[in-house]
């Protein structure tokens, strides 16, 4: 049972990790917590669903088009909503993300209706690999694998590409980056695009693990946020580790202590981390000197 709990915890943790990474990418650049992250991912997943179900596109094509849609959605939100804010402060921007979240939720309800649907994913969510008695379902296995690959690609992107370096520079000091000739406004839009794309990947995996409906991201988003706080809201590896840890801790708690209080664990962790180590496990504690 222990091994089984760890494996399924890792699979769900992988989804939390992706959402946490999506949030951290934006938080690092602009100090904004994006509450629309979940709904952006949900709408992207519905787009994928429409491409697969109504247009019968092969999955790789549908996924590629969905990523393109997610990128455009991220850029659209940054340019049309956030950039228009007059003398924005962080709180104002966060409120704008909340508003966008509600708009997207209403839009999805109107466009696709409230009924639950099953998301056509190429990997079965019932069949399983049996490795020496440890059963890992195909969908869990692929979720973990896809998340690891995505993380690796993101790591390479931020570390070795010019654009990635420019993004990191903007994250560290916007003014200096601008002085060095980086078009920080575009970098910001691009940050939202990447974050939205990572979110879309998480959305598709979450829909494949469960069902697809407008409120499907409510719980995972909160857990993603908790993962970010656990690992560090300014650290990408932290978000990944936080997600995996949260998935496992939750499952072990549910398996051995209490299922009724399983959901509360994430929030207990947020409170605990904020008391003990506010910057998270892997982020450096940042003290502003006056």
């Amino acid at each position: 049972m222990f091994g089984q709990l760890i494996v399924s915890g890792l699979a769900v943790g992988a989804c939390y990790a992706l959402l946490a990474i999506a949030m951290v990418i934006i938080y690092k650049t602009s100090d904004v917590l994006n509450f629309a992250q979940g709904e952006m991912a949900m709408v992207s997943t519905f787009v994928a669903f429409t491409l697969l179900d109504a247009y019968h596109l092969p999955f790789p094509w549908a996924a590629a088009l969905t990523f393109l849609f997610a990128i455009l959605l991220g850029i659209f939100f940054e340019i049309v909503f956030l950039r228009q804010a007059k003398d924005p402060n962080i709180l104002g921007l966060i409120i704008i993300t909340l508003g966008f979240e509600m708009i997207l939720m209403g839009f999805a309800g109107w466009k696709w209706g409230p009924d639950q649907r099953s998301f056509p994913f190429p990997v079965s969510n019932i069949e399983a690999y049996n490795y020496h008695g440890l059963i890992i379902s195909k969908i869990n296995f692929w979720t973990i694998l896809i998340t690891l690959v995505l993380m690796f690609v993101l790591f390479l992107f931020f570390r070795y590409t010019k654009l990635g370096t420019a993004m990191r520079a903007t994250q560290q000091n916007q003014l200096a980056a601008r002085v060095m000739g980086i078009r920080t406004k575009w970098i910001l839009s691009f940050t939202w695009a990447i974050s939205s794309m990572v979110g879309a990947a998480a959305g598709m995996l979450i829909a494949a693990l469960g069902v697809l409906d407008p409120p499907m991201m409510m719980d995972p988003l909160l857990k993603g946020f908790a993962s970010g706080v656990l690992g560090g809201m300014t650290s990408l590896p932290g978000a990944a580790v936080g997600g995996a840890m949260l998935g496992i801790i939750e499952n072990l708690f549910g398996g051995y202590v209490s299922l009724a209080f399983k959901s509360v664990v994430a929030f207990a962790i947020i409170v605990l981390m904020l008391c003990i180590r506010p910057s998270g496990l892997l982020a450096k504690h940042y003290v502003k000197k006056v």
Binding site: G210, G247, S263
Partner: protein, 393 residues
């Protein structure tokens, strides 16, 4: 001069006020010479929006009925409001219904939580509540309330009878329970436990989930490790789908059972990718493809007025929940008051529309007391496992 203007102004204000406050001009709130005003709250948006079709179904019944000439020369004027399944919103809408629109009664109004938020307010204002709350919790009959006429079988009795069916007909003794951690789920659990206790048995596991939970892997593991031969679930559709998938992943295949709330077979088969086949559940009405004359008429109305709406169980249920209201109004005649309506409703004895047989008396308003069992087939059809069974005394 100023005094005269003030008096004139006062008179004008009074005249305008009397014109714009039609409610006070009537003898009975919500009843005019040509109309009866009926309201319904229901989640059209938000996490419970799948149940929104109940309220739209009632709307279809009233539309069809009005086109046939209404009831005793009066048409039903129907007000549907979205409360997103949030009791606070339901409360605000109840105020609007009573104080601004001035309704005679409400029908349906999905949700035990939203229903509880307004039950006492409606009672104080003598609002008739027919098929109220659309749930089988005991809150509508305890304490006895003469304004409420529920038509949903009680969850406790439904769950009790299902457990009995498993034990007596299928010889299953090891039963586990999966339930939603609220009134709905807990009353299901209570019914199952009551039967187990009567037989000197004990549930091998009882596992609960919060409404917002989206990961049920450890729940599935716990059920599997309990060695249960059957699992009864009292949960919402998303949880049912998630749990079935998680159990299938780890190779756990018990006999599943549930109540009438999860009876939308085609929807459940679709979101569970076929795993719903074999499910045994209770039900309290005609099936969507039934040839009952009323069902044939309803399907024709559906095609005529709302062809875009999915013809599913919840949509039909909205019509079935409005049927007793219509029957009550028919029996009341032209002189419609809350008292005369209650009196007429209490003459219903084993009366059937397309739902379960209903009987209301002056001391017992739990009208729905019978269900029957179905088993879902792989092609989405249903196999009838029993005749009507009386589940409540």
């Amino acid at each position: 001069m100023l005094k005269r203007n003030l008096v004139l102004g006062g008179i004008m204000m009074f005249i305008i006020f009397s014109i714009t406050a039609p409610v006070s001009a009537q003898n009975v709130r919500g009843v005019t010479d040509t109309e009866i005003l009926i309201g319904q709250t229901g989640p059209q948006t938000g996490p419970a929006a799948a149940w929104g079709s109940v309220a739209r179904g009632s709307g279809l019944l009233f539309k069809g009925l009005n086109d046939e000439g209404g009831i005793h020369g009066r048409k039903i004027k129907y007000f549907l409001r979205d409360d997103s399944y949030q009791p606070a919103k339901t409360k605000a809408i109840a105020n609007e219904f009573v104080e601004q629109i001035g309704i005679f009664g409400v029908v349906g109004c999905v949700g035990a939580g939203p229903g509880m938020a307004v039950r006492d307010y409606y009672t104080e204002n003598k609002v008739l509540m027919v098929s109220f709350g659309v749930s089988g919790v005991t809150n509508w009959i305890q304490p006895f309330n003469k304004y409420i006429f529920p038509m949903f079988p009680l969850y406790i009795d439904e769950a009790y009878t299902l457990t009995k069916y498993f034990f007596e007909q299928m010889k299953i003794t090891k039963v586990a329970m999966f339930y939603q951690n609220d009134d709905y789920g807990k009353q299901g659990l209570e019914g199952v436990e009551r039967y187990e206790k009567d037989k000197g048995l004990k549930l091998v596991a009882s596992v609960s989930a919060e409404v917002t939970d989206r990961d049920l892997s450890s729940h599935a593991l716990k059920l599997k490790n309990s060695g249960a031969e059957a699992v009864i679930m009292w949960a919402m559709p998303v949880h049912a789908a998630l749990l079935l998938a998680e159990c299938a992943k780890i190779g756990f295949k018990p006999q599943w059972g549930t109540g009438s709330t999860l009876s939308d077979g085609p929807l459940m088969l679709q979101i569970t990718k076929g795993l719903w086949a074999g499910m045994i559940h209770s039900f309290f009405g005609e099936l969507p493809d039934s040839n009952h004359p009323l069902m044939v008429k309803y399907r024709a109305w559906h095609q005529k007025y709302e062809p875009g709406e999915r013809w599913g169980i919840f949509y039909w249920a909205g019509m079935a929940f409005a049927e007793p209201l219509v029957e009550g109004l028919k029996r009341t005649g032209r002189d419609v008051t809350p008292e005369s309506f209650i009196k007429a409703m209490e003459t219903l004895k084993d009366w059937r529309g397309t739902g379960t047989p209903l009987t209301f008396t002056s001391t017992d308003h739990q009208g729905a007391k019978q269900v029957y069992f179905l088993q879902v087939q792989p092609d989405g059809s249903f196999k009838k496992l029993s005749d009507w069974i009386r589940i409540t005394k």
